[in-house]
């Protein structure tokens, strides 16, 4: 296995923007995306704020050039994947061996949960099969791969909140093993009643706007969206007229092995993932200029992540922030969306703000950035994604 892997482009759709540029403007103008539920039907409407993509399925389908009746997860995925490819300047896909590695957590559940209500009324014949035919996580990926004409290598990863980051790792390996030349890697997830209620049973949702890394934090806000980067080999990177955004210089995946949903108090998995990513990139902690935190806003995550950061980075803390304070927690999409933000941070010297921050956590007084800025000297960025099942992943992006 040889060679480097570069980021040739990226695309995002989420609660703060229909495309990447719109998201940057939201950061610059401090406009987080969580508000009252508009599109999802749920008894929690008006109670739990969410960061929905501000478009209904008809609008998304038109943008994606896909049928309106398919899963919102697939529509979001196609939109972001299209934007990512377009931004890469790679031209026609037919010239390359292209892979598509997409992550999601509940597949076409937005449709399945509607189907299931009808099915339960009248089992086994109730419900329209069209709504459940693309239930599987992998089916959502294939809907998009088929629409984009990608079939050389297609796969789907599901490791809860770290899924998208793991997609980049697998994609990178595919390139370095010469199985593909280019990979669109990242993740997607649409808001569903299943997920919203599931998280609600864990009592980790905040009825107000979330406050990652703040001492008063009481939980997360769910979001939705999709984010993909275009990974390319050395040979392809050399052909890019504008050059790549940056290099995927390091990554690591470790397991907390502590509890199914909670992080260990000292953030063992988090620490191992960050340390492993640094080691692979050959960097020292003080080389990192910005960390895109996992930063969900729950008591437990931010505490564990904060402690792990202290253990690894003290006393030289980089700038850091949780973009989930704007986008909400987009689950399977988060690793992909945040990879795009992180890669762009290297290219444009961006430090993203952390919304709703006023008071550092008593347990570990880290102070996130609270304003957007670009043009900073950002040679290396770390992006963290820590999920249920103890799945912890960390990515490092570098200028060269």
């Amino acid at each position: 296995m040889t060679g480097n892997v570069w980021i040739a482009g990226g695309g995002v759709i989420c609660g703060i923007g229909a495309h990447l540029q719109a998201c940057l403007e939201a950061f610059a103008h401090m406009q987080p995306g969580m508000q009252d539920m508009q599109y999802l039907r749920s008894i929690h409407r008006g109670v739990l704020p969410v960061a929905e993509v501000k478009a209904d399925n008809a609008e998304l389908a038109a943008r994606a050039s896909m049928p309106e009746h398919i899963s919102r997860t697939a529509l979001l995925s196609k939109i972001a994947a299209d934007e990512a490819w377009a931004s890469s300047g790679l031209g026609a896909r037919g010239q390359y061996r292209v892979g598509f590695v997409s992550a999601n957590t509940v597949g076409g559940m937005d449709k399945t949960e509607d189907f299931f209500a009808d099915y339960l009324q009248q089992p086994p014949t109730g419900g329209r099969l069209q709504q459940v035919v693309h239930h599987e996580c992998g089916s959502v990926t294939e809907l998009v791969a088929d629409a984009m004409g990608i079939r050389h290598h297609v796969s789907t990863i599901s490791t809860a909140c770290s899924s998208g980051a793991n997609a980049l790792m697998y994609g990178s390996r595919l390139i370095r093993n010469n199985i593909v030349d280019v990979v669109i890697a990242g993740g997607t997830d649409a808001l569903t009643r299943f997920t919203l209620n599931g998280f609600n049973t864990l009592m980790i949702l905040d009825p107000a706007a979330c406050r990652p890394f703040d001492d008063t934090r009481t939980g997360l806000n769910l979001g939705e969206g999709a984010g993909y980067v275009v990974l390319v080999s050395d040979a392809i990177a050399a052909t890019l007229s504008k050059g790549p955004w940056c290099r995927l210089s390091g990554y690591a995946n470790a397991n907390d092995a502590y509890h199914q949903t909670a992080s260990s108090p000292d953030g063992t998995g988090n620490y191992l993932a960050m340390k492993g990513a640094l080691e692979m990139s050959g960097l020292q902690p003080e080389d990192i200029a910005y960390i895109n935190l996992h930063g969900t806003g729950t008591q437990n995550n931010d505490d564990a992540e904060g402690k792990a950061i202290q253990r690894l980075f003290a006393p030289h803390y980089p700038a850091m922030s949780s973009t989930k304070s704007f986008t909400g927690h987009t689950l399977g999409a988060s690793g992909g969306i945040e990879a795009v933000f992180a890669a762009l941070a290297v290219q444009e010297g961006i430090i993203y703000p952390n919304a709703h921050f006023t008071t550092p956590m008593k347990e570990c007084p880290l102070v996130p950035a609270t304003a957007f800025s670009s043009g900073n000297r950002i040679p290396h960025v770390m992006s963290n994604s820590f999920g249920f099942g103890g799945n912890c992943s960390s990515l490092v992006f570098s200028k060269q």
Binding site: T201, L202, M203, H259, Q260, T261, A262
Partner: protein, 81 residues
């Protein structure tokens, strides 16, 4: 408390534990019955479902659910008529 023990066994799907095996003052969490934070959340729903008591803050869990007796006392104190 006998009813409460039966409800606990059912809600938490405690296999091979009979309600009468649970001591009134036996710690439910960690070493005692070995319950964890997910079980605490299950018990919060149990209180709501059977006794109509809402607990907004899961951090109160360890104190309320220390033992069957502490749970029973909490229920008696807070149960809506």
């Amino acid at each position: 408390m006998a009813d409460l023990k039966a409800q606990i066994v059912e809600q938490l799907n405690l296999q091979e534990v009979k309600p009468e095996d649970i001591g009134n003052d036996q710690p439910l969490f960690k070493e005692g019955l070995g319950l964890d934070s997910i079980d605490a959340l299950e018990l919060i729903v149990l209180l709501q479902q059977h006794y109509h008591i809402r607990i907004a803050n899961p951090e109160q869990g360890p104190e309320i659910f220390y033992s069957v007796r502490s749970m029973a006392e909490f229920i008696t104190a807070h149960q809506k008529q």
